[in-house]
């Protein structure tokens, strides 16, 4: 019996069955505490149509899918390398083309044009609102967190705090909080953009300076702890933040500079263009940073902090810098949300939100700007699509079941992300191949004591 278990294809079959059963549960009906087995029973026994041919129960359908998947997987693992080699050879010419500079710039330009024209193409009210609230905001947050996690390699689980600071600063500056604005002079939300970004960067420095000396997992927990503390305070300091009631109504932004006059109203499209402008700005700045001395210093610190110190790099300084710079786009995203949706509630700034952004960054590819933009757009589009309408037993509260599973799957199969940054991919491959390097930070320098 043990021998049977050891056979690879048997193991693979069992794993496939396990995975499929889990997917069945994930996509099945819910239960409740009075009917705890309802979800389980329904997931397997509910009637389903077998690809439109006949009616059967869900488990039959899924068993079929499992067997097919097992077959394909076995085939791929055995015959795969040949197929992959042929495909690779076929892809050589296209790759040569995509690597060329002018082609890349052309592609970027085309994307920009598409982005600008998007509101004309997609005119439904739902999607236009989604483009701003969901996609644009999340893209901003993702590229900012990418600086912290991707460039500098710091796991920040409290990133939502910067978003919150941006939003609350907007409320404060425009007089929508019990705490009166500076000099009792309420300003246009447009002015809160620079103020929020400045405050958020200061917050990044203040938070980072004491905590960024810690190593990876401890840093994650500390940032998580800080995030929770901030949330509790935001929820309870009625005198400053108006507590759980949220802010008072925040006015919409408007510009009045000489001949230039524009008022943003309730329609989402103008906010989309405002967001797009800043997204492009942040993309340019972050990209320049990535390929500068600072970006290389971040890479050095990530690769080998001790070696980086030996050439004069001050790890703390660069880490704090990453924190502050990454926070900037979150700050602007906060301004965007606050001024568009008119009021903000502390309940929206949760740890879960930080995890959501983390998923976007991981899926897209840590350290890869193009990757995280893609990841953000992809996941948020899918999320919005699923939230809008009935899709096969999916409930909005199920979202994190999928995101959580996605994180695990990504780590096992493609930790470098969808569009990996070349360096990161190499780092991961090296870590996997070179076991001894993994212990370098544990060992003291050399073996003399």
């Amino acid at each position: 019996m043990k021998e049977l278990f050891a056979k690879t294809y048997v193991r693979r079959l069992l794993i496939t069955l396990g995975v499929v059963a889990t997917v069945e549960l994930m996509t099945g009906p819910p239960g409740s505490n009075t009917a705890p087995t309802a979800g389980f029973r329904g997931s397997f026994a509910e009637s389903a149509s077998f690809f439109g041919l006949f009616k059967t129960q869900r488990w039959v359908l899924f068993l079929f899918i499992a067997l097919v998947a097992w077959g394909i997987a076995s085939f791929w693992i055995n015959k795969g390398p040949m197929v992959r080699a042929t495909v690779s050879r076929a892809l050589v010419t296209p790759r040569h083309i995509t690597a060329k500079r002018p082609v890349r710039w052309g592609a970027l330009g085309a994307l920009l044009v598409v982005a600008v024209l998007l509101p004309r193409i997609e005119t439904s009210a739902f999607w236009q609102a989604a483009m701003v609230e969901q996609i644009a905001v999340y893209v901003l947050l993702a590229i900012g967190l990418n600086v912290v996690v991707g460039f500098a390699g710091l796991l920040d689980l409290g990133y939502v705090a910067f978003y919150a600071i941006g939003a609350y600063t907007t409320a404060w500056v425009t007089g929508a909080l019990p705490l009166p604005p500076l000099f009792h002079h309420a300003l246009n939300p447009f002015w809160s953009i620079p103020i929020a970004i400045l405050l958020v960067m200061v917050a990044g420095i203040l938070l980072g300076a004491p905590t960024l000396r810690l190593r990876g997992d401890y840093l994650a927990i500390v940032t998580l702890g800080f995030g929770e503390i901030v949330t509790i305070f935001a929820n309870n300091l009625y005198g400053i933040t108006n507590g759980s009631l949220g802010s008072n109504p925040i006015p919409h932004p408007s510009i009045q500079l000489g001949p230039v006059k524009y008022v943003w109203g309730l329609k989402p499209v103008p906010y989309y263009y405002l967001a797009l402008g800043f997204i492009v700005l942040f993309l340019v700045i972050f990209s320049l940073l990535e390929h500068s001395r600072v970006g290389r210093a971040w890479t050095a610190i990530r690769e080998d902090e001790v070696a980086a110190e030996s050439v004069g790099i001050n790890p703390l300084k660069y880490k704090v810098m990453a924190f502050a710079i990454g926070a900037a786009s979150a700050g602007f995203a906060g301004v965007l949300t606050a001024s568009q949706s008119n009021n903000i509630f502390p309940a929206s700034f949760t740890l879960t939100f930080s995890i959501n952004i983390l998923v976007l960054v991981i899926l897209g590819g840590m350290g890869s700007i193009a990757g995280v933009v893609l990841g953000a757009i992809l996941i948020q589009t899918v999320t919005e699509y699923l939230n809008n309408g009935q899709h096969w037993g999916y409930q909005p509260s199920d979202l994190y079941i999928y995101l959580g599973a996605l994180l695990i799957v990504m780590m096992i199969f493609r930790p470098a992300g969808l569009i990996p940054s070349k360096r990161r991919k190499r780092e991961i491959l090296l870590s996997e191949a070179d076991h001894e390097n993994a212990h370098l930070d544990e060992a003291l320098l050399g073996d003399d004591v």
């Binding site: 009075t34 500390v222 409930q395 994180l407 695990i408 780590m411």
Partner: protein, 320 residues
């Protein structure tokens, strides 16, 4: 600062009055934190990994206990032998489900990474993913409402300490906690299995050269930690009920306890739990109810910044 002194002084009288009641409650909480903390510390010892999903192990034990109690405890509350039997059954149910969940978690979320020598960050991210998957799944299958657990005992005051009543609930926790801690301490210090765990915690390569089955030892570490975490879940459920998000705050506090005592140090986890439980309980006098969690989170941040090795220092391998 006169106002501050005044504030403290005024509350000190309340503290003196309520001290023993708060102390007893704090010890009970502390034992629960310790039980959960043990799971963190054991896994950290052998894998150098913070098992972010341990909170869901705790939760699964809570739900297991809840369903068992719901099924077996009718409208009339049993007493005597039946009561004791049910309590033990609940603890066992919680512990078993916790161990199974922990075992599956290790197999699915961590082992594949270990086999590929994944970088440290990958484990943490996978752990976060597992945590979110599990508690949202629980929410889907068992509903999002918070419910209270039928108690298989009458929660009367069993005896008094200096005038403070010690409820049945606390007595149960005390007995269960002490038994589990002593058993675990013996396990790690005296048995071959325990030596294996300590060996892996100290030096994986040497341990495997000495013939320790690394995979099995790691699996058993998770199982043991999961058993205590799950049992703690049941005990917690009896007092506070269950809800799919119940894992987050207690587990974070338990992690604080583990770090406070010295992560990787088994006795440290137990002691850290007690210290945190009692301190938090006494702070109730000084701090508004809404902010009481800030005390624990604040201690967490402070300890990590100031003395990350904790009170008893870091290593499980050295002297437990």
């Amino acid at each position: 600062m006169g106002a501050f002194g005044h504030y403290v002084a005024a509350h000190f009288d309340t503290l003196k009055l309520e001290f023993w009641a708060l102390f007893v409650g704090g010890v009970a909480n502390g034992l629960l934190y310790g039980m959960i903390a043990v799971g963190y510390t054991l896994v950290y010892g052998v894998l150098r990994l913070i098992n972010f999903a341990h909170s869901e192990i705790f939760m699964s034990g809570g739900f297991a206990g809840y369903f068992v109690m719901k099924a077996l405890v009718g409208t009339s509350v049993p007493t005597g032998a039946a009561s004791v039997g049910l309590i033990i059954l609940g603890i066992v149910a919680g512990g078993v489900v916790g161990s199974v969940m922990a075992f599956v978690l290790e197999r699915v979320a961590y082992r594949p990474l270990r086999k590929r020598n994944a970088p440290k960050l990958a484990y943490l991210i996978s752990a976060i993913g597992a945590s979110y998957f599990l508690f949202n799944m629980a929410g889907k299958e068992f509903g999002h409402l918070a419910v209270s657990t039928p108690q298989p005992y009458i929660n009367h005051a069993v005896f008094h300490i200096f005038g403070a009543p010690v409820l049945m609930y606390y007595v149960i926790i005390l007995i269960a906690g002490v038994v589990m801690f002593v058993a675990l301490d013996r396990l790690v210090a005296k048995t071959r299995l325990g030596r294996g765990i300590r060996a892996v915690a100290q030096d994986v390569e040497t341990a495997s050269l000495m013939g320790v089955n690394i995979d099995r030892t790691i699996a058993i570490t998770f199982i043991v930690g999961g058993a205590l975490g799950g049992a703690a879940g049941f005990l917690f459920a009896m007092g506070t009920g269950v809800v799919y998000t119940m894992g987050f705050v207690p587990a974070l506090k338990a992690f604080t306890a583990a770090v406070l005592g010295g992560i990787g140090n088994l006795r440290g986890a137990m002691i850290g739990g007690l210290i945190l439980g009692v301190f938090e309980s006494l702070c109730v006098v000084f701090v508004q109810a809404a902010y009481i969690d800030v005390v624990a989170f604040g201690i967490l941040v402070l300890v990590l910044l100031v003395r990350p090795t904790g009170i008893l220092g870091e290593r499980l391998g050295r002297s437990a």
